[in-house]
């Protein structure tokens, strides 16, 4: 083994010069110098950027969040407005305001205005009761996913609207006849129930017609069955 020392020499030699061979030798084995070199290069480049980067980042983030929140809010308001009303009509309320409007141009009996207000109050009570009755059912449906979130929110809002509406009618009652509101509220309640009864009674005729059609009945004019 006389050659051994030369081998070792050569070996050591290549070991130290290892990096210089590396470029051609093997790509997957990394080269040390190259790495530090690029690192240094990067450092040089990043110093000016690093000063602005956080600012730019923050600006982009804040601006995009602001845009998002604004659009989201606008979207929600639009959607809420798009939601169909819980109640189809507000005739009682509208009629009262229409009458009030008329009273500015022509003379309207004060008691007619009172009647319209009582009607409005009775309707407000009916809605309060109706919403109270439906609330647990709609809440359950919302919870199990049969009703969308928008409708649920609309429904909750409506509960508040109805409260406001009734308070407004009480206020109007005070305006029409000072000291009336207490009696007004009890009257409204009686009216509400009686009107419901009356509507139910009025509907009998129509129900009969529906039954005759649905069941294909042949009825004489006096109400007896034709044989």
């Amino acid at each position: 083994m006389a050659d051994n020392s030369t081998f070792e020499e050569g070996f050591n030699n290549t070991y130290t010069d290892y990096s210089s061979f590396n470029g051609t030798f093997n790509g997957t084995y990394s080269n040390n110098t190259n790495g530090t070199f690029t690192g240094a290069e990067e450092k040089v480049e990043t110093i000016p950027i690093s000063f602005y980067t956080p600012i730019v980042y923050a600006v982009i983030l804040i601006v995009s969040l602001m845009i998002f929140s604004r659009r989201y809010k606008a979207n929600r308001i639009r959607k809420l407005a798009e939601q169909p009303e819980i109640f189809d009509e507000h005739d009682a309320k509208e009629l009262y305001f229409e009458l009030q409007g008329l009273s500015t141009t022509e003379k309207i009996h004060e008691k007619v205005l009172k009647a319209a207000l009582l009607n409005r109050g009775a309707e407000a009570i009916r809605r309060t009761l109706k919403l109270k009755e439906l609330a647990p059912q709609i809440e359950l449906m919302y919870k199990n996913g049969s009703v969308g979130e928008d409708y649920w929110e609309r429904f909750q809002a409506e509960t508040k609207f109805v409260e406001v509406e009734f308070r407004e009618t009480i206020q109007e009652a005070e305006n029409l006849q000072p000291g009336w509101p207490k009696l007004f509220a009890t009257l409204c309640q009686e009216i509400c129930f009686n009107q419901a009864l009356s509507r139910r009674y009025q509907s009998i005729l129509k129900r009969k017609e529906v039954c005759i059609e649905e069941w294909d009945l042949k009825i004489n004019s006096d109400g007896t069955l034709t044989k």
């Binding site: 309207i108 009257l187 009686n194 009998i204 006096d222």
Partner: protein, 196 residues
Amino acid sequence: MASTALRYNPNNKLINDDSDSLTESREISIMQINKLSTAIISESNPNFTPQLNDEHSKMIKSLFESGLAMLKQKKMPEALKNITLAVDMAQRSRAPYEAFGIQLQEIQFMLRHKIDLSLLTGRFLDALQDIEFLMNTGMAQSDVYIRKSDALLKLSQFEQAKICCERGLALHPNEVKLKALYLEINRRLADYNGDI
């Protein structure tokens, strides 16, 4: 706004709306206001209370009793007519703010007589609708179910009759008349379905 369509008649103090776009609910609302106006205007006390108007009570009672008198004379159609008039009168003349509890009892009491007369004179559909009115206003006595099942049976609505009878039996399990009616309904239903 539709405010232009609303008209006020200063002579009879009524409002009306004769536009084409008049909805059913608006029409009902206008009717309710007019009814209230008429009632309030005839009221002299500005602080009127939900008390029963005795005058109305008297009128309704006399009409109803004349109907009952006819019934005693076995004049069924006339009796029915008078009682129907009494019910209508109660609905028309009473002010909407007169005590609801008493108004309800009054109409229920009169309607029960009307239903019996309707059934006796073969006006089953009238009877049925009146019974449903009673049921909707919270009456659940066994005789209501008996009458409804009977009316439905007479109208050949066997399935409906069975359902009604079953419900009656569920609420009044010992009602003999309902049980008998149930057997009859089942027999008719089997025939209807060709299972006899």
